[in-house]
């Protein structure tokens, strides 16, 4: 369960304060697939960063499984991310000096899993990259890199996966492939997924979505509504 209570974010732009996110409250129940949609600069990525504890809110609190993460120090936050949150970025952010297999192993090694290597191999198989395990990121295509990133995000079987424009840097085919994988994870593992995108079509794959504009929520679409509409169209 993810809960944001009156969370806001203001930064200094030169000498002027600039509000990126106006106070907002959201509850994301366990096992949901939420899409956060909005144009560039609307505060989507900031919201995702706040949920992951990558950034601290100016006001309000962020609760993950009822723990207020705004009160945790950096190391506890890192531990929490390692155990509960998987991350997928638009620019993949693989570690260039490690092979695909090693990139996937890292989160498991950090928490001291003994069978990290075997699990990493299994994960790569799951995303269809068995043959590419010993390649470095620079030797992989964009789509392959993103699949490695996805395998890495799943390494510690996190209950939550946060994806920031995961298809933004990919062509349509590869983008679709990644989305299918995300859906599969959501359905098979019951993982909570928060997907940030500006692509409305992708967002429609989610159970529910919120639309941000200039740091405010301008629209919330419930899962049942979506499902009902989908049913009507069908």
């Amino acid at each position: 369960m993810i809960e944001l209570r009156e969370v806001s974010k203001t930064v200094m732009s030169g000498t002027e304060p600039l509000t990126i996110l106006h106070p907002l409250s959201i509850q994301i129940a366990r096992g949901r697939f939420l899409a956060v949609v909005g144009p560039s600069g609307s505060g989507k990525s900031t919201l995702l960063g706040l949920i992951a504890g990558l950034d601290a809110p100016t006001s309000g609190s962020v609760l993950i499984d009822e723990v207020d993460i705004t009160r945790l120090d950096e190391d506890r936050l890192a531990k929490l991310r390692g155990e509960k949150i998987g991350f997928v970025f638009q620019f993949f952010h693989l570690i260039p000096s490690l092979t695909a297999l090693e990139n996937v192993s890292v989160p498991m090694e950090i928490i001291g899993l003994r069978d990290a290597r075997q699990r990493a191999e299994a994960l790569l198989e799951e995303v269809g990259l068995t043959g590419r395990a010993h390649h470095y990121p620079s030797q992989l295509s964009g789509g392959e890199q993103q699949r490695v990133a996805l395998a890495r995000a799943l390494a510690n079987r996190p209950p939550i996966v946060l994806a920031d424009e995961p298809t933004g840097n990919l062509d349509t085919t590869n983008g679709r492939h990644i989305m299918e994988l995300l859906r599969k994870i959501h359905e098979q593992r019951g993982t909570t997924i928060v997907l940030v995108t500006h692509d409305v079509e992708l967002a429609s794959l989610a159970d529910s979505r919120i639309v941000l504009r200039d740091g405010r929520v301008v629209e919330r679409v419930d899962r049942d509504v979506t499902a009902a509409r989908a049913g009507a169209e069908r």
């Binding site: 990525s45 900031t46 995702l48 960063g49 992951a52 990558l54 950034d55 950096e74 190391d75 890192a78 531990k79 991310r81 390692g82 155990e83 991350f87 970025f89 620019f91 952010h93 693989l94 570690i95 260039p96 000096s97 490690l98 090693e102 890292v106 989160p107 090694e109 950090i110 928490i111 001291g112 890495r152 390494a155 510690n156 920031d164």
Partner: protein, 843 residues
């Protein structure tokens, strides 16, 4: 822990090329430390281990007059009191030797007449491998050094004439206990039986023979015995010393050499450390995204820190071990450099000293860790949110980092103090280092302010170069800091090196006299002058100086009043016998500090005293000194104080110089320093002809000694130059490190400028301006700092006069500027060549 270890291995695997530089810096620094330490320990060992056999006794008593019965009584009493269990006597005197067959050659030798028990320590090695025995000397036998065989063209079994007696050569000495170290010998050693000495007739009146008593005593009695004997013979011309005092004298020279080399070693290590700091900074800057990713997937800051610290330690260890290997190779090359040299330095065994190796490796690891720790602290400030959007890391006041910086500074002081074997020196070096860093930071700020008006320059490259120097996140202060420190150390060490070498060269210049004629009688002076002036004999730089033996018997002056000779004796060395001279001019190595030097002769006795006499005994201009010159009493007025540069031995040095007039008729002899013919055959003939014509004149030939000293000096010069080059190399490493540090930023900028239409030439010019200005300023600040460094080190560490070598400093500035400009532009070549799109995409 497994994660940390695995990551450290993977990171090293991935970045080893970039870290090669790190490795190199440490290797060079450690190699320097280990080599310098090993060499100094080896050479010191040669002297130290052999200290006892160098004087062949525990305690040595010597006098230039015959032992009086009273003196013998005192000695006997003391020796039995301190449990001396063995003693032997010998007599040493320089004399001429000739072949018995009357051929026209002669050679000055150092004759030593010994008894059965000699030597008490050490051995006498013979060329054919036989063991030395006293029997070889008995019945007019003689053992000689190989040089004499060559000089006189004789062989074992032949007879040679020493004084009035004939001796048969029974063997050739290769190594010899009781050889004096450091002092000059007047000729090759010749050993005869003590009992045969009388027959030579060399012990007559006016003989320069030195009587020596060698004693063996239990270890704990050595120093008390020496002290007691010194007390007993305070007022007589008997000196007592132990093998340790011999060691101490030599030890001082070694301390000086070791201090210098330790400081140079330290400098090389610090230069390496600065380069390491630069490299680590670049390395971490390039790793920021990876660090953010690691944090994002759950790694804690400390875990990541440990990954990099482990890497640093592994590199430090590998670099240090490689440095030890380099040192080993260098040490192996030293005997090759010495070649067939016969100097005592060539006798040392230049092995790798394990203590030096251990010290080198420890310092290598410590320096790697200390210099990389502060840049590594950056890891803590990396925020995983930068994966979502670009943001600069906040510059909050970081107390942990501050604490680490304090700890690192203390660690560096510790390393410096350890390396220089003195907390004071270590602290001084580190404070100087910090002071210079501060000045360089300040200079950087001032430069930015001063060149601000140039941003309005009509030249595009100049305008942009200036903008680069002052923009946010500029490289100005970092490059100034690193290069300025490099220039400071390199110019400083080179100036010190020049200073040291000049110090040496004064002592062994080419036109230094290499022959001395002694005991020229007054009646022979004109004849000897004519002989030397005869061009066919090949002598040059000849001067005849009158010398007299004199003793100070009283002083009446403003501060010092010594009525009787007993009063003078109470002043220690003032009572010794002095060799004096008279002349109407100053020598080139003399300078008047008080009063005025006379011109012309006067019957009124006047004397000029040496600075040391003036200071130690408080004898001033206007005081009257009473001298006993061979029984004749002369009261002379002190009219000037002279400073003598004792290192410049070409003109000799006298404590007392008299005004011509009053001493002209006193009993005197002449000495003549001169430069003899260079050809060995001509030298032999010169000596023979001179001795034939003036039999009483002694010839002391310094040629071989000077050659040996020159040989050693050229080796030392080579060593010092190599060390200087090593420092220069480290300086260049720093520069490369500093340039590399800001390169990634420049590559991107150049790509943008190219996209906007700037051509390669414009960008090259821009880089040239930027680095030229930085290099010049770094050179100026470093060079000025080096003046301070040489002053402090010359005065306090090396105890030599302070000299400024303008060439080194000006050259330092010009070279630094040129080097920075060239390295800056060359290392940016790919910036100039690259197609901009590739660079922009990579960003």
């Amino acid at each position: 822990m497994m994660f940390v270890l695995r990551m450290a291995v993977r990171e090293t695997r991935a970045s080893w090329r970039r870290l090669l530089f790190f490795f190199l810096c440490i290797a060079v620094g450690v190699a320097a430390i280990v080599t310098l330490r090993s060499v100094i320990q080896s050479v010191r060992g040669v002297f130290g281990r052999e200290a006892r056999s160098l004087i062949a006794a525990d305690v040595l008593l010597s006098t230039n007059i015959e032992w009086t019965p009273e003196a013998r009584q005192t000695i006997d009493r003391r020796l039995s009191e301190f449990g001396a269990n063995e003693r032997t006597e010998s007599i040493e005197t320089p004399t001429m030797s000739r072949p018995a067959d009357g051929r026209p050659v002669a050679r000055m030798v150092e004759l030593r007449a010994v008894q059965r028990e000699f030597p008490l320590y050490g051995t006498i090695g013979l060329q054919d491998g036989r063991a030395y025995s006293y029997a070889l000397l008995q019945q007019h036998g003689v053992l000689v050094r190989p040089e004499l065989l060559t000089a006189l063209a004789v062989k074992v079994g032949d007879e040679i004439k020493i004084g009035q007696s004939l001796f048969t050569i029974r063997g050739v000495i290769t190594t010899e206990a009781g050889r004096r170290v450091g002092g000059f010998s007047l000729g090759p050693r010749v050993l005869i039986d003590y009992d045969d000495l009388a027959s030579t007739g060399l012990l007559g009146v006016g003989s320069r023979a030195r009587r020596v008593l060698l004693v063996r005593v239990p270890d704990d009695s050595i120093e008390p015995l020496v002290r007691a004997l010194r007390r007993d013979f305070r007022e007589q011309f008997v000196s007592a010393r132990s093998y340790r005092s011999n060691d101490d004298e030599v030890g001082r020279d070694f301390d000086r050499a070791e201090n210098y080399l330790s400081l140079v070693g330290l400098v090389i290590v610090i230069l390496g450390g600065i380069a390491i700091s630069s490299v680590t900074r670049v390395f971490i800057a390039q790793k920021i995204r990876s660090i953010a990713v690691l944090k994002c997937v759950g790694a804690r800051s400390n875990q990541i820190m440990v990954v990099y610290v482990l890497q640093v330690l592994a590199l430090g260890l590998a670099g240090s071990l490689f440095g030890v290997l380099l040192a080993r190779a260098t040490l192996a090359a030293i005997p090759i450099a010495f070649g067939a040299s016969t100097s005592i330095l060539a006798e040392a065994d230049y092995g790798l000293s394990w203590s030096a190796a251990a010290q080198g490796v420890t310092i290598g690891m410590l320096v790697s860790l200390l210099f990389s720790l502060v840049p590594l602290m950056q890891v803590r400030n990396v925020k995983p949110s930068l994966l979502l959007r670009d943001e600069s890391t906040a510059n909050r006041r970081d107390w942990t980092k501050l604490a680490v910086m304090v700890g690192v500074s203390l660690g560096l002081v510790g390393v410096a103090a350890w390396q220089a074997a003195s907390l004071r020196v270590g602290l001084a070096v580190c404070l100087g280092f910090a002071g210079l860093a501060f000045v360089l930071q300040l200079a950087g700020r001032m430069l930015i302010v001063l060149i601000a008006p140039l941003t309005k320059s009509p030249s595009f490259p100049l305008r942009h170069a200036v903008l680069h120097l002052s923009r946010p996140g500029n490289q100005t202060r970092m490059i100034l800091f690193a290069v300025g420190l490099g220039a400071f150390f390199v110019v400083g060490v080179r100036s010190l090196q020049a200073s040291l070498l000049q110090e040496f060269s004064v002592q062994v210049s080419e036109d230094a006299p290499d022959m001395f004629l002694l005991d020229i009688q007054r009646g022979q002076a004109d004849g000897v002058r004519a002989f030397l002036a005869d061009g066919t004999h090949g002598a040059s730089h000849v001067r005849l100086m009158p010398v007299l033996r004199a003793r100070v018997t009283g002083v009446s002056g403003r501060e010092t009043n010594l009525e009787t000779f007993d009063d003078v004796r109470a002043r220690g060395s003032l009572a010794r016998e002095y060799t004096i001279t008279y002349r109407d001019h100053l020598e080139p190595n003399e300078r008047i500090t008080v009063g005025a030097f006379w011109s012309g002769a006067s019957t009124e006795p006047e004397v000029s005293v040496e600075q040391g006499i003036h200071e130690r005994f408080k004898i001033d201009v206007g005081d009257i000194m009473r001298f006993d010159i061979l029984g004749r009493i002369i009261n002379a007025r002190v009219s000037s104080v002279r400073e003598v540069d004792w290192r410049d031995a070409r003109s000799g040095g006298f404590m007392f110089v008299f005004r011509p007039g009053s001493l002209d008729e006193a009993p005197q002899t002449f000495i003549a320093p001169l430069k003899g013919p260079n050809d060995p055959a001509a030298r032999a003939k010169f000596q023979h002809d001179l001795v034939e014509q003036f039999p009483n004149v002694s010839v002391i030939d310094f040629h071989e000694i000077l050659e040996t000293v020159r040989d050693i000096m050229s080796k030392v010069t080579l060593a010092v130059t190599v060390v200087g080059a090593l420092v220069l190399f480290s300086g260049a490493l720093i520069l490369i490190g500093a340039v590399a540090m800001t390169k990634f930023q420049r590559v991107y900028e150049a790509a943008v400028l190219k996209t906007l239409g700037a051509n390669t030439r414009t960008i090259a010019k821009m880089l040239l301006f930027e680095y030229g200005v930085l290099g010049s300023l770094a050179g100026v600040v470093g060079s000025l700092g080096a003046i301070g460094l040489t002053w402090g080190v010359s005065r306090y560490a090396l105890e030599i006069p302070w000299r400024i070598f303008a060439g080194e400093h000006i050259g330092g500035v010009v070279l630094t500027a040129a080097l920075v400009a060239v390295i800056g532009v060359v290392s940016s070549l790919d910036v100039l060549k690259n197609k901009p799109l590739a660079t922009l995409r990579a960003e």
